[in-house]
Symmetry: C2
Subunit: 351 residues, 2 copies
């Protein structure tokens, strides 16, 4: 369908526009050594490419700009495989240099570095922690009315919530409560906690504890760990490093999009593994029409998955971001998996 020269010209046009953010004209292209054709020749090819929908003009006599179809073709067929620049991989490496205890920390840092490296906005979705198993319960009374419930999960995450203690409950009864919880509910995943609490622990409570109902309902509330999806942002402000966003209205709407969170931009509509590129309206959301999103996934141990997204202008440096995301997500996976290996062995010993 497309001649070799047309392919070349399309590629050069997209590349040039990605760099310069300016519509590229035939004369300009013809000056490049990679395109040793006259401007007229290029003009003709460009006209054809425009007819086929790969290029667009911003106005009748302007240079060409890639259409979404053009970007899509570029990403699918014209992307030259790239190796990570040395300085990039050095930067990435620093992430794993000083070892960090909690996975959350590592993920947060990844978001930051990614945004610094790309100059786009990065959004990391943490793995769904609700499948983590409870390692230990603890209750610390604060005063007559209140106590802190603490849940430690097997990945080292600590959830805590303050709750009301029924008046007159003695310290020994609280101790008993903790014991019951620990006996009955250790190993339960956070999602199942509510349910199991009812099934396994309720009757035990009623037998042993004074004022069981009140305590129980308080506990139930405290234990209701909301399944908050954890989003980590990097470089929220980066979009204004892009010239096409040097504009008040655009920045404003971008921020509103970001701050509003995922409702509008359901970024992580994961279909299949590997790296996904969504260009402009491929995001299926009107607010995202001006942006491209590149996503990838990483694993954090035993069927726990997180996602990485980079959001930038359609005129994004796809090649670079893709390789960057590729290596980061695999590095992140190994690092996070190593963190949980210990647990696995450990858990096996427990049973």
């Amino acid at each position: 369908m497309l001649t070799n020269r047309q392919l070349l010209i399309l590629q050069l046009t997209v590349k040039d526009f990605i760099e310069s953010a300016q519509p590229v004209g035939s004369r300009q292209l013809s000056k490049k050594p990679e395109a040793p054709f006259s401007s007229a020749t290029i003009r003709n090819d460009m006209a054809d490419l425009e007819d086929m929908g790969y290029l667009e003009k911003t106005h009748t006599s302007s240079g060409r700009v890639p259409s979404e179809k053009g970007y899509r073709f570029f990403v699918d067929h014209l992307l030259q495989p790239q190796t990570l620049a040395i300085e990039d991989s050095l930067q990435l490496r620093t992430l794993f240099h000083d070892k960090v205890g909690e996975s959350e920390e590592l993920i947060r840092k990844s978001a930051t570095i990614l945004s610094e490296l790309t100059n786009y906005t990065s959004i990391l979705l943490g793995p769904d922690t609700s499948t983590h198993a409870v390692k230990k319960f603890s209750i610390v009374p604060l005063d007559q009315q209140r106590a802190v419930a603490i849940i430690v999960t097997d990945n080292g995450h600590v959830e805590n919530r303050i709750f009301d203690v029924p008046p007159g409950l003695t310290a020994s009864e609280i101790e008993k409560t903790v014991n019951i919880l620990n006996e009955r509910l250790i190993g339960t995943s956070l999602v199942q906690l509510q349910q199991k609490l009812l099934q396994e622990a309720k009757h035990v409570f009623e037998q042993h504890i004074h004022q069981a109902e009140q305590l129980f309902s308080s506990l139930q509330q405290a234990i209701a760990v909301e399944p908050e999806e954890r989003l980590y942002f990097g470089g929220k402000l980066n979009m204004w490093k892009q010239p096409e966003f040097h504009d008040f209205q655009k920045m404003k709407s971008f921020f509103e999009l970001i701050e509003k969170g995922n409702p509008a931009m359901d970024l992580f509509q994961k279909k299949g593994k590997g790296i996904q590129v969504r260009i402009g309206s491929e995001n299926k959301v009107i607010e995202m029409e001006e942006y491209s999103v590149i996503t990838s996934t990483y694993s954090a141990g035993e069927n726990m998955e997180g996602s990485i997204a980079i959001i930038g202008p359609k005129r994004m440096d796809y090649a670079r971001v893709i390789t960057l995301l590729d290596t980061l997500s695999s590095d992140l996976s190994t690092a996070l998996n190593r963190m949980t290996i210990g647990q696995e062995t450990d858990r096996r010993q427990d049973t």
Copy 2:
């Protein structure tokens, strides 16, 4: 020094400018029923006020704009005491309706509401938690190499940190460790923790625990609670509701100021109690010249203090913000104090 009419005109000028964000001219003012003078009269007075430095012109034939001196005079002498609008106080009240367990939560919410009510950016500085006393220690082993150290303070705050466990340490030894910590260090404030750990607990460790040194240094790291100043922001984006910030560069520099955190803007240079107003260059920082800051303090129990700041354009609605801040800070104080009363009684019982 100033005639009554001049005072009136100054007041009206400032008020008008605060509302409209437009330089105010003599003719415009003369139309207001509050100023039943001819434009020429007003013009003369304005000229005088300009000579005295209370007003400025943006260019030779423009209307007048308050100078910093003008704002200062307005705030000090011309502010009419205002009562809180009903809808405002209703909004504020919602804060305290549904009771929240942890003080942090309440403070965070205050920041949000304040920014919504004012359309400016709010920054709340949480009380210095490092003086809180430890209520309970706990250590939960995760696997052979790692464990979580948990510290609960008497206000219900939970600090946790993952640390390395020296290989070969037994479960009973960990239990012993926790016991030692709880025996020796409960009631210690977080600031003193490091020091006391060394003084009181080190020798005990050496007597009872195998591999004391390694464990001890791990613990020491884990316990090093950084004295992070906790800042809570509300309405970071609000500045672009102000017309004078409908400008790319200004918004950008405002964000950089905010994100960079306090180094540049040491907002909470508290001098004296009560409400402080700092206008433009009174902030002593070049980056803050365009902004005014109004601060207030609240108490969170027994000589623990937090601060509230509202940052907006110099053309800020001082009257409203001041009353708002006044009532919020006192409401917040009572709420937070009530939270800690229980503890006080409780702590007395302990000793």
